[in-house]
Symmetry: C2
Subunit: 448 residues, 2 copies
């Protein structure tokens, strides 16, 4: 028989346990933080009718979409993000859900991107959104969730960059560039990557005058403490009502962030960020890791006026953001913040005497009853080989017992990190034994 070569498609990935444990941990942290703010989980199908998905992102997402005709003759597509499915979902269920509707959605999406860019064709998105309200409370809450997410993930050196599309729009209005806004915002978005000269060149190409360009740069270069930036903006755009509204909202958001305990150095008003996507209309966020600023934003989002206009006449304003799971994991790896040997179980029980399996399982049950993870080795190999396996997998403690020890109800607790061991009674003294085990594991005995 000819063997089939085991292989994965280009741009798709297998996750082995070491990486998957870290991914799961990150997703669990995101869930925990989202839930702490009252966001609730939803799920939608991987496949949607093609007309639900096409023309909703950009030309690029249309081109990259996986789509086909199913066995029933229906044109279907695999979702390329979680925002279009949310729009469809909200339009379909909003009366049942009620507003404000706060949801999170952590799920894979698919895009046939060019894999040589280090991009993947399947990746997880971790989105949270608040639908059905224009209130500033949701803007503040979104900023607080981003802040708490990063902290819970174990990152302290980061800065949330905040802007408001209303200010940008006000500026473009005052320059009579309203109809060029998409071009200007896309060019401005590249400021970090291609520098002022690059942006100037792009602006020139779409027919923007040097004078207009200069005013845009003058604007984009405003920086400093929040209050100072805000008053400079007010001076620069005195006649734009839209800009004034945008400035006022930034004032309220930043002041509430301080009131909620976010240190001032963790955020800044940065009028140069634009977030290319057309649908943002209000406050926008990006999050930069100060130790790795070049990798780009790890958590971004913003406010939009109307989520589901293609599906319903009901106006559904909202705000949301998305955690960049892959980017963040790559960053944590670069920064050396990932555990080297991630494990799921701490305690290892070698199968020292194959005739005493029942004793090993009774011992394992006793340990597991306290919530401590335990594995019994399944093969009657030499003890040395079994302990080598335990060491490679990152177990912390081995519980070793042969026939003699088992007959006397004893077991050796061996700390695999220090290679020290103590013999204790377990069979008739579960409490003393478990206290000793926890102390070797470094667990507070109050925990249990």
């Amino acid at each position: 028989m000819t063997l089939i070569e085991p292989r994965t498609l280009k741009g798709f990935r297998d996750f082995l346990p070491a990486k998957m444990i870290q991914r799961e941990k990150l997703m669990e942290t995101a869930k925990k933080v989202y839930r702490r703010y009252g966001f609730m989980p939803i799920d939608t199908p991987a496949l949607e009718y093609l007309d639900i998905l096409t023309g909703k992102g950009s030309e690029e997402t249309d081109r990259q979409m996986y789509h086909f005709i199913d066995a029933g003759g229906r044109p279907v597509g695999m979702r390329f993000d979680l925002t279009v499915p949310l729009a469809r979902f909200a339009a379909q269920h909003i009366n049942e859900l009620g507003t404000p509707f706060k949801r999170y959605h952590i799920a894979p999406v698919w895009r046939g991107e060019s894999p040589q860019d280090g991009r993947f064709r399947e990746f997880i998105q971790c989105d949270f959104d608040t639908i059905g309200t224009t209130g500033v409370v949701s803007d503040i809450e979104t900023a607080l969730v981003i802040h708490e997410l990063l902290l819970e993930i174990g990152i302290e050196q980061f800065r949330i960059r905040i802007n408001n599309r209303q200010i940008l729009t006000g500026l473009l209005d005052s320059l009579e560039l309203k109809h060029q806004s998409t071009h200007v915002l896309r060019a401005l978005d590249k400021l970090d990557k291609i520098g002022p000269e690059g942006v100037a060149k792009e602006l020139d190409q779409v027919g923007i005058t040097t004078d207009q360009s200069n005013r845009i740069f003058q604007f984009a270069q405003i920086q400093g403490p929040h209050q100072q930036v805000l008053s400079q903006l007010a001076q620069l755009l005195p006649s734009s009502q839209l800009a004034s509204q945008g400035i006022e909202r930034l004032e309220r958001v930043t002041s509430a962030m301080l009131a909620a305990g976010v240190p001032a150095h963790r955020f800044e008003i940065d009028v140069s960020i634009a977030r290319g996507l057309d649908y943002y209309t209000g406050i926008i966020f990006e999050t930069t890791l100060l130790e790795l600023p070049r990798i780009g934003s790890v958590c971004s989002g913003g406010r939009y006026d109307n989520l589901a206009g293609l599906f319903t006449k009901q106006q559904l304003p909202g705000i949301g953001a998305s955690l960049g799971l892959d980017r963040l994991l790559a960053a944590l790896e670069k920064l050396g913040r990932l555990e080297e040997t991630p494990r799921t179980a701490e305690v290892f029980i070698p199968l020292f005497d194959p005739d005493r399996i029942n004793d090993y399982f009774a011992l394992a049950s006793m340990v597991r009853s306290t919530g401590i993870s335990t594995e019994v080795f399944p093969e009657p190999k030499k003890l040395g080989q079994q302990l080598k396996y335990a060491d490679q997998r990152g177990f912390l403690v081995a519980l070793i017992a042969g026939a003699r020890e088992l007959d006397q109800g004893l077991v050796q607790i061996k700390d695999l990190r220090t290679q020290t061991a103590t013999e204790v009674a377990w069979k008739n003294q579960p409490e003393t034994f478990l206290t000793a085990l926890k102390s070797v594991l470094g667990l507070n005995s109050m925990l249990s």
Copy 2:
């Protein structure tokens, strides 16, 4: 502009928060139990090369598979289970992974089933497997994981039905029906559904004599306490070495289950279960809910000799089982064991005075710092309307404060279940306030 009708594909489902919270809880419970036994997470792509997937399940799974040609001209398919991807994964990575390799995988799979049967075209599988060992330890561990899973999910009235394919094969050998085994096992699997007459008819159709049928039924009707069943089997199949091995392994597994603390009434040896899938070769499991026996097994699996024979020459024996998430959720709903108003946040802060947003966020931060989930309402509606929202969403407690209370650093803690309220100081006395809040929430103040 014409609106696009928001709709989902037949057989596909949206999960609204109430249902999704319950699904997430079940998946989290499965992960916790799997990890407690040292199983580690992996993930594989939703899309695979088509030749990886075809011909690995049954004719039915081939027919039901979603497949297409991607933009690069590659024939690709969406996975229809997690076992074929595991086989490909193990063949590809086993040298890096080492054995025994214990993995869990919780992920969606897709099958174009006929939706009128109440089946879904997208559903989550929750698998755990141990690869690379034939040891009885893994058989025992699989049984213990199933037992603990059901208990942790909150079910106590269940029975794990255990059999061993070696015994069935031994019986068929002794009846000279070796080459008919697939037909016999498939027919036998339907015993619960179509009764002995139905099975007899199916056996007759494939040319099995009445005498052979009778011996099969005599065998399938053996029941009683473990020890009794095992000795009856030994008497019935004295000359089959394979059957004797199978009986001995069942003895060792059931005895270890008792040693590990599983009550005898929670499992039984049931020689009538066959698990139609051809690849099982050893012990097999099904799990019946005693209050809803007709819904079928909620957790099933078994031992196989060779997982990845189509992908590698390396022999990879293993054992695993799968939790039926959808079936279990439907069962829990029928049994009234699901919370009526699942929630993610417990504490609700109405936006009583829109000018005091910063105070509400300072208060919310104080509460969240203890890990308690809190939501600030985003719209300045009437207090009554805001509290109605809180009630509908299942919040337990509201923290109500107007300008007067805030000026004095006070807040009203209102228990939304009993409608009783107490006013306490929070601003300068976080500890007293948080203790009072926890006491109303019914949390042990030791928790924090």
